[in-house]
């Protein structure tokens, strides 16, 4: 097998990996090879650097030390490390949410005049959750109150964060009983750091329970605020056509890749890319126009609302630059490889950082300010236009692969498309599950990771699920992986979906795999699941649902936190690679088994996507049985490859 | 061409043959052994009796060793006398062999007991394969075995028979087992382990007679008590087989005296192994250290010298390593010092059956006893062998973390003593 096909199953990516090899440019896969074998202590989570009596490591093979200098055993060390990962993941998503809330506040006060409130319906709905009266208020006034209320949830010291109460009542009661109802989004994160300081929380179970609470502060807090307030600003997504893969870069256009996570600036960049003045300049530079495309979750955000093309997912960020056709890669926060600078230096590509939180040494920084958002966006697009002249034609190789997809499936949209705009309801979906036409629902999410063949596990898993009549909801880089393979075309149902799912796809006109957005939009999956429970007939708690989650190629701490809030919400969730906890049998047992008795959800670690699917399907079938549902109507289909 | 004769076909003899062949590929080698069996390891006999290995695995060299090394091996033939002038050896088959260089590696025999009844059926020493086969052929008819002697051989015999499911009683005159090689603290742990595993050690007692008609039926002890048994094994240590040297002019004390090239007082005649009284590192005198590794090393150095490669023997240390039911015991050098010039460092944990002792004289280590935690025993061993001042590491000698890394400064500091290339390689980068 050629090297590139070992690294990715995506043709476009393979072509660029091959090009990089020929040009001796190092990619993440090469750096992984250089790094291997990687530290076993790190993989197992059994090293502790929390104080300078250490660093300490526990010998996993039992011959060396079994206690840290402070006396912490392997369970404490593993649990503390895991808690820190959860804190970081929660912090990342929540800080994203905070920035959106802050922008909403500025906009409501007229200080961020480039932004307007597009979705008043959603604004009112959210105001309702915060118990804010909407009568007779102007949208700016209401937006200010909503922004202030959501910012208050970040800094809340006592009580409960508001959105957590959107979960089914039984679930909320359980969280209260276990003492894991988040009090304030930031407070729980801070407490993670306190608890993992030397000599504080030494009980791995107690540590992990706080991890669940912190993660709930993300899923039902920070992330959900990010999603909801972005919808208020930029409108709740509705089904929209788009294109995906490196082929969306165009040889005759000025190519700008917006990469990262927050839509606040990239929304402005979308607008600026259509600025007549800039288009004129572009033509003068010899380009036919300006082509703004997305990468990673920034891509998902602007895809969901504007149909902006998606260049690729996490492991394609380097590959986009390898095309030699990117004038500017504008980045904000999260999942931006430091390597971009090195790869860009092999081409004319300019990397431009925009967040005061995320700078690169030696990289142009144009700081984003809410107050002059459009101006900043325009200046960046202008730099791209200027840079077009420096592009070396002979070094340009753009893979031809680009795939059609339909995105934009917010929780609200699922209401509408299933029930129609005037009788929005989840009833048909619930009925489909109850009758056995659909086996259940799965959330397949998460990153790419060079430890797993790029996109392979996502695709194998999702195909396996849909052929077994499981409706798959996706976000993040996982969604992009499946979109590239054509699973998000409405006609994909005919090829890949089981008979039951196929019937639903045909009747409603949806693909068998639904794109719900970016990784903060995993909160949409929580809301959709809650809506299903509310609709009735499938139990009274999220843990009753014939549903399961998976992150088959995860790499970031955010994924751990997402997994934790899925599990804390009652969802069985499969991860690959395993979380760095295998060094402790007790912590692993808790995470992969005993959590079930506490919160209904728990984890499994499995690297084979077929087995992963089997675990999820078995869980779904078990839940169907517990609900006394009819047998599934159809056997899984066999898809010819 | 030099012709070589080796008397004795065990550790020292075989090791000598190998060493000669490393230097001299052609010189004829004749090996004479009064045993019919060849190339087997005596130390494995208790493993054979205990059922841990089969007869095949008694061999410590390939079956075709003699052939590949081009050695004429005369097994089942006894050397009767040596004529040092004619350089000739008379054999019990009426033949004789001439030699240019001779190695006497006749080993040792079990000490006999001068008590009545020692000739009865069922009384054994355990020294060679014939003894072992005799013991094994009787096993089915034995319910209880009595071992006379609590030394290493006695205890190994006891262990082997216990593994065979026999009732085993060990009669020890001294107040502890293994009194020759370990102190009473180590012995305490070993005795505890033996007791746990069902071996009864009866201390402060000796047998006065072995009872029975033709066959053993019991043992009478010096407190007049009687033990019933069907087998008696005498484990009272060994005595060197030095008879061949008698009257030849070869100097003999406890064993055959050799110099630091393993040569006896007579030129071209060498001795090695359990029969040789050779330089001893810790005492500085001449001593028989009748253990396998010493025999192998002596045989090797004797062989090199016989073949003309001048090689100095640094001397040996008493050293023993064994294992009872998974309890490892290693002792090296002086383990029970009597004079006050010696200093003892001890660590004992009876809960975990762990014991460590290091014996020093003027901060130079001259002995060590390790029970249970025996890893790194050889690091103590090399410090004992090299006689270096251990003051800088004295306070960590008993630590569980003590290992080769801890002696790096010493290895670096004494390049003349740590002169093997492997030592140099470890400190080359600092």
């Amino acid at each position: 097998m050629k090297e590139e096909s070992k690294r990715s199953i995506d043709k476009a990516s393979q072509q660029m990996i091959d090009k990089a090899a020929k040009e001796k440019v190092k990619l993440s896969w090469d750096r992984l090879e250089d790094m291997e074998p990687q530290c076993g202590f790190g993989q197992l989570g059994i090293c502790c650097r929390n104080c300078t009596m250490g660093p300490c490591r526990i010998d996993p093979f039992g011959e060396g030390p079994q206690k840290a200098v402070c006396g912490a055993d392997v369970d404490t060390i593993v649990a503390r490390n895991l808690l820190r990962h959860i804190a970081v993941g929660a912090a990342a998503h929540s800080d994203h949410g905070r920035d959106v809330a802050h922008t909403l506040l500025l906009a409501s006060e007229g200080k961020a005049h480039d932004y307007e409130i597009k979705d008043v319906e959603k604004l009112k709905k959210i105001a309702g959750y915060y118990e804010i009266k909407t009568d007779g208020k102007k949208k700016e006034e209401l937006a200010r109150e909503v922004a202030e209320a959501s910012l208050a949830d970040f800094g809340r010291q006592e009580g409960e964060i508001k959105f957590a109460n959107r979960a089914p009542a039984k679930r909320v009661e359980l969280w209260r009983k276990l003492g894991i109802m988040p009090r304030g989004i930031d407070r729980e994160i801070v407490e993670c750091l306190h608890r993992t300081h030397m000599g504080v929380d030494n009980d791995y179970k107690n540590i992990l329970l706080h991890g669940l609470r912190t993660s709930l502060g993300d899923g039902w807090g920070g992330s959900m605020i990010a999603t909801e307030l972005q919808d208020i600003f930029f409108a709740t997504p509705e089904p929209i056509r788009g294109k995906v893969n490196l082929g969306v870069l165009k040889e005759d256009l000025v190519n700008i890749v917006v990469h990262g996570h927050e839509p606040i600036l990239s929304e402005m960049a979308v607008k600026a890319s259509q600025d007549p003045e800039l288009l004129e300049m572009a033509k003068k530079s010899g380009a036919k126009g300006i082509n703004l495309v997305g990468m990673c979750c920034t891509a998902n955000e602007i895809l969901m609302r504007h149909g902006v093309p998606v260049a690729g997912n996490f492991l394609q960020q380097e590959l986009a630059i390898m095309t030699g056709a990117v004038e500017v890669m504008m980045v904000d926060v999260q999942c931006i490889m430091p390597a971009l600078k090195d790869i860009a230096s092999c081409f004319h590509t300019q990397i431009i950082t925009t967040s005061p939180k995320a700078k690169f040494p030696g990289v142009t920084h144009i700081e984003f300010k809410e107050e002059k958002a459009y101006e900043v966006a325009k200046s960046i697009i202008k730099m791209a236009v200027d840079n077009f002249k420096k592009r070396k034609k002979e070094r340009v190789d753009i893979p031809k692969e680009e795939m059609d997809l339909v995105a934009g499936f917010s929780a609200e949209v699922i209401h509408h498309i299933l029930g129609g705009r005037f009788r929005a309801t989840y009833r048909p979906l619930n009925d489909a599950i109850i009758s056995g036409r659909l086996r259940g629902v799965a959330g397949v999410v998460g990153c790419n990771n060079p430890h797993v063949k790029h996109d392979w596990a996502h695709l194998e898993l999702v195909k396996e699920l849909i052929r077994s009549d499981v409706l798959v909801l996706q976000t993040g880089c996982s969604a992009i992986a499946c979109a590239k393979a054509g699973l998000m075309k409405p006609e994909a149902g005919f090829k890949y979906a089981g008979y039951g799912l196929r019937e639903i796809c045909e009747a409603v006109g949806i693909p068998p795999v639904l794109h719900l957005g970016s990784c903060v939009d995993n909160s949409r999956i929580l809301i959709a699941a809650t809506e299903i429970i509310k609709e009735g007939g499938l139990g009274d708690d999220l843990s009753c649902l014939p549903a399961a989650g998976a992150a088959p190629e995860w790499m970031s701490e955010k994924a751990i936190t997402i997994g934790m809030y899925f599990v804390a919400s009652g969802v069985f969730t499969v991860f690959n690679p395993p979380q760095p906890i295998l060094g402790s049998k007790n912590v692993s047992d808790l995470v992969c088994s005993k959590l079930k008795d506490l919160v209904g959800g728990y984890f499994a670690f499995e690297s084979n996507p077929k087995k992963m699917a089997k675990l999820m399907i078995n869980h779904i079938d078990k839940k169907r049985k517990e609900l006394n549902l009819k047998p599934v109507m159809y056997k899984p289909i066999i898809v010819k490859t | 061409m030099t012709s070589y004769v080796i008397i004795g076909g065990s550790a020292a003899g075989i090791s000598c043959c190998e060493a000669i062949r490393d230097v001299d590929e052609k010189g004829p080698i004749t090996l004479i052994s009064d045993e019919k069996a060849s190339l087997y390891s005596r130390c494995l006999l208790t493993y054979l009796i205990g059922g841990k290995i089969d007869k095949e695995r008694l061999l410590f060299k390939d079956k075709d060793f003699y052939k590949t090394k081009n050695i004429e091996a005369l097994h089942g033939v006894k050397a009767v006398s040596i004529d040092i002038k004619k350089k000739e050896i008379d054999l019990d088959n009426k033949k004789s062999v001439k030699f240019d260089k001779l190695l006497i590696a006749t080993g040792a025999s079990s000490k006999r007991l001068n008590i009545p009844g020692g000739d009865k059926k069922g009384v054994f020493g355990l020294r060679d394969i014939i003894d072992a086969e005799g013991i094994m052929s009787m096993l089915d008819n034995v319910d209880t075995a009595v071992i006379l002697g609590g030394g290493l051989i006695g205890l190994r015999d006891a262990y082997a028979l216990k593994l065979r499911g026999k009732k085993v009683k060990v009669i020890v005159k001294s107040p502890q087992v293994l009194s020759q090689i370990v102190d009473k603290d180590a012995a305490f742990i070993i005795e505890k382990k033996l007791a746990q595993e069902g071996i009864e050690v009866m201390k402060g007692l000796a047998a006065t007679r072995i009872d029975g008609n033709d066959s053993v039926t019991g043992v009478t002890l010096d407190d007049k008590s009687k033990l019933s048994c069907q087998m008696v094994i005498i484990g009272k240590g060994v005595q060197p087989n030095r008879g061949l040297a008698d009257g030849t002019g070869i100097k003999v004390e406890d064993g055959i005296i050799v110099d630091n090239r393993l040569q006896t007082s007579v030129k071209d005649i060498y001795a090695a192994g359990d029969v040789a009284q050779a330089p001893d590192i810790t005492t500085g005198g001449l001593k028989i250290n009748a253990v396998w590794p010493v025999a192998i090393e002596q045989g090797k150095i004797a062989g090199l010298n016989m073949a003309g490669r001048d090689t100095v023997y640094d001397g040996s240390n008493m050293m023993n390593s064994t294992d009872f039911f998974g309890l490892a015991v290693i002792s090296i050098g002086i383990t029970k010092p009597k004079e006050s010039v010696y200093e003892e460092l001890k660590y004992s944990d009876r809960e975990t059956n762990t014991y460590k002792k290091v014996v020093l004289r003027d901060n130079i280590i001259c002995g060590a006893v390790l029970v249970n935690k025996v890893v790194n025993a050889g690091v103590y061993g090399v410090l004992i062998a090299k006689k270096v001042d251990c003051t800088p590491i004295k306070d960590i000698l008993l630590s569980d973390n003590f290992d080769y890394a801890k002696i790096l400064p010493i290895v670096k500091g004494f390049p003349d003593k740590f002169n093997k290339p492997e030592f140099k390689e470890t400190v080359m980068s600092i």
């Binding site: - | 493993y47 410590f60 294992d323 490892a328 801890k406 790096l408 980068s429």
Partner: protein, 157 residues
């Protein structure tokens, strides 16, 4: 002979070689699966230090190996062509004579199987697990001459 050397000045004590060694000597040859094996796989290398000097202790495959002299069961022997000191686990009876003899403490007990274990220079792979695992290049494979050259180069820089 070609063997493994440790450059003490480059070893940071990460113990990566220890884990890699244990994993290489597991049935599964993978970390998480190896941890589930019983008995746990045994490492044959140990990282230790004295006075801030850190050393990864390995079998030195001594030319004149004291462990071979001490072995009474014929389990330890010298492989002529390669110079490797090899241990035949089927012949080993667990008398620990080799442990008593090895001046480097490079032979350890496998208590469950009651045999000695030592560095076997990774017979199941072409390279060496510990060397491959070493993140700083402190572990080096080659002849003594090659190792000397490397060290010399370093001092010139």
């Amino acid at each position: 002979m070609k063997k493994i050397f440790c450059d003490i000045t480059k070893c940071v004590g990460c113990k990566g070689c220890e884990i890699a060694c244990a994993v290489e000597h597991s049935k599964a040859k993978g970390l998480s699966a190896a941890l589930k094996e019983r008995p746990l796989p045994k490492r044959r290398v140990k990282v230790s230090s004295s006075d801030k000097k850190i050393l990864s202790i390995h079998c030195q495959h001594c030319a004149d190996a004291p462990c071979i002299l001490a072995c009474m069961s014929g389990a330890l022997s010298k492989e002529k062509e390669s110079g490797k000191t090899v241990h035949d686990k089927d012949r080993c009876v667990g008398c620990w004579m080799c442990i008593m003899a090895c001046p480097f403490g490079a032979i350890v007990r496998n208590i469950e199987d009651h045999i000695a274990v030592k560095c076997d220079l990774c017979p199941d792979r072409e390279d060496f697990a510990c060397v491959r695992a070493c993140p700083t290049g402190a572990l080096f494979v080659g002849t003594e001459e090659e190792f000397k050259k490397i060290l010399k180069k370093k001092t010139h820089v």
